[in-house]
């Protein structure tokens, strides 16, 4: 199910940030029989390491091509400023899952691990005012 921006605002207003910031548990390496695809995924995917500070700068710098230098948009694309880390992470995760409707952000957010999205959200909340 997709949600729209105003629904997200309600979610944000309801202070559901806590759950969104919990790190995702690594996949269990249980010996119990599982479907083939799930087994393969569980075996080869270690939990992604958090990106270094310099790598986060590399990532956020790309955002500025649409959202403006330091997240201050020069036009119709929303700015990245004025959000705390929890709000930014919730939005990014919902774009990644596709629950939050967007034109292009649903396609971009899927390009990052949860750890990377968390680091990007922290950068937005801390540095983009």
């Amino acid at each position: 199910m997709r949600i729209k921006n105003h629904t997200l605002t309600l979610l944000l207003g309801a202070s559901l940030f806590g759950c969104a910031t919990e790190p995702t548990a690594p996949p269990a390496t249980s010996a119990a029989p599982a479907p083939a695809a799930a087994t393969a995924a569980a075996v080869v995917t270690p939990p992604a390491p958090p990106p270094t500070a310099a790598a986060v700068v590399n990532m956020i710098n790309n955002c500025y091509s649409c959202h403006g230098t330091d997240g201050r948009s020069a036009g119709a694309i929303p700015s990245l400023t004025g959000k705390n880390a929890e709000q930014a992470l919730l939005m990014l995760k919902e774009y990644k899952s596709g629950r939050l409707a967007a034109t292009v952000m649903t396609r971009h957010a899927k390009g990052y691990t949860d750890a990377e999205l968390e680091a990007i959200a922290n950068y937005i909340g801390t540095n983009l005012k």
């Binding site: 590399n58 649409c66 034109t103």
Partner: protein, 431 residues
């Protein structure tokens, strides 16, 4: 299963590069500086790649001395030059000055032309006769044309059949010809073979020309003669043309005789294997190579494009020189202004790290190409890219094109964001 994880790969790559296994010394010239403060970086070209690199070098390290060499005093962007043809923009609105780079960001901008690069002596020579020494050189020269690839076409022929693939006087010339065309005329776009600057560009142009013609000369036709059998955002373009312009836009793929073999600028004729086409206006977009200075300096391979290390964009031909933008071979990244800007940011960060004797951080590269089919009909393709053992590859499961089925409001939003993107990226680069 022996899949290498990104973490393992980076360990391997890091170790290999520290041991010098990956070839040229990644830290050449760094030791004597012990920090990037006194380092001099010279950048060739003030477009999407070069201007971004200049600004972001200074943002990342205000102590670094950056000289940007660009012949033009103003830069006219190829992105949105199609909107000039469509009547949606003026030339002024796609022209950018270097004032902010000079005054706000402390870049030494020289309006001159680099005529020679001496990789051994780490020096460039300018048309004015001056020479500049550098610790790292960034070459962002864009593209040049293979003028003689099609019989009858030449640099001189471009005055009759403009390419308009470098924005500026050629854009103005093509617009003049479009405006002078009679109602009921045929506007032919000759689309170039791969690889070329701005993969969706010729097709966006078709829609923008059709938009102008629909308003002013509705009996006219836009014919795309293409050497290729497929193109960027093809399904979305075909649907959009049909919806907005009916049968006005026709695309002839290579398999159906689209490849142009000869042109006659006096008779305004184009020959393909199967047909002869009479045109009223021809927009001939030639086959392309990296910009001239890259070829002349031995930075390009035998196909005319520049091989680079995907982590730093350092040339595989000459250490100490980085090649970014359309001229570079950047794996899965397309030759777009957005990609050039993203490469420039990664290159700037890698140069700073290298000058400090550090290992460059992991690259993250992004592209988004918006195209307008009509003023309220926008489409896009996006991608997120990482460096893997295979070079620059697209992160699977991410990116892709706009949905094929979408309400009008979706296309309208993407049209709005097309304009928003242009405002933001040009301010991010030249602002």
């Amino acid at each position: 299963m022996s899949k290498i994880t990104r973490r393992d790969f980076l360990k391997i790559a890091g170790a290999a590069s520290a041991a010098g296994v990956l070839g040229h010394a990644p830290l050449a010239g760094a030791a004597k500086h012990m920090g990037s403060g006194s380092a001099r970086v010279v950048i060739v070209g003030g477009g999407f790649g070069g201007a971004t690199c200049a600004k972001y070098l200074r943002r990342l390290d205000p102590g670094i001395a950056v000289t940007l060499v660009e012949p033009s005093t103003k830069f006219v962007t190829c992105p949105f030059s199609n909107m000039v043809l469509g009547g949606l923009r003026t030339m002024d609105s796609i022209t950018h000055s270097f004032d902010a780079l000079k005054n706000k960001h402390g870049v030494n901008v020289m309006h001159d032309t680099v005529t020679a690069i001496d990789a051994g002596a780490k020096k460039v020579t300018l048309k004015s006769g001056k020479t500049l020494s550098y610790d790292r050189l960034v070459v962002s020269p864009g593209i040049d044309f293979k003028w003689d690839a099609v019989q009858g076409y030449s640099e001189k022929a471009a005055e009759v059949m403009p390419h308009a693939w470098k924005a500026g006087p050629q854009t103005v010339l093509l617009q003049k010809k479009l405006k002078a065309m009679k109602d009921g005329g045929t506007f032919v776009i000759v689309a170039p073979p791969n690889p070329f600057r701005c993969p969706p560009g010729p097709y966006e142009r078709a829609g923008m020309v059709a938009h102008y013609l629909k308003e002013h000369k509705p009996k006219s036709k836009v014919l795309i003669l293409d050497a290729k059998d497929a193109f960027s955002k093809q399904g979305l373009f075909l649907d959009g043309w049909k919806k907005l312009y009916g049968d006005m836009v026709e695309w002839v793929p290579g398999a159906k005789g689209g490849a142009v073999q000869a042109v006659d600028t006096r008779k305004m004729m184009l020959d393909t294997a199967l047909d002869k086409h009479k045109a009223d206006v021809v927009n001939f977009i030639p086959a392309q190579t990296a910009g001239k200075i890259a070829l002349a300096s031995g930075l390009a391979d035998d196909k005319g494009w520049c091989p680079v290390d995907p982590r730093t964009f350092e040339s595989k031909m000459h250490p100490g020189i980085h090649v970014i933008g359309d001229a570079s071979i950047a794996g899965a990244l397309p030759k777009s202004g957005f990609a050039a800007s993203s490469e420039a940011k990664m290159c700037a960060a890698a140069i700073i790290a290298t000058l400090k004797g550090e290992t460059p951080a992991e690259n993250s590269l992004v592209n988004t190409c918006y195209s307008l089919i009509g003023p309220k009909y926008g489409i896009s393709v996006a991608g997120v890219y990482k460096v893997t053992e295979k070079g620059i590859t697209e992160v699977p499961g991410a990116g892709g094109v706009s949905p094929k089925e979408a309400p009008d409001s979706f296309r309208e939003n993407e049209a709005k964001y097309t304009v928003g993107w242009y405002q933001s990226i040009t301010a991010d680069i030249w602002g």
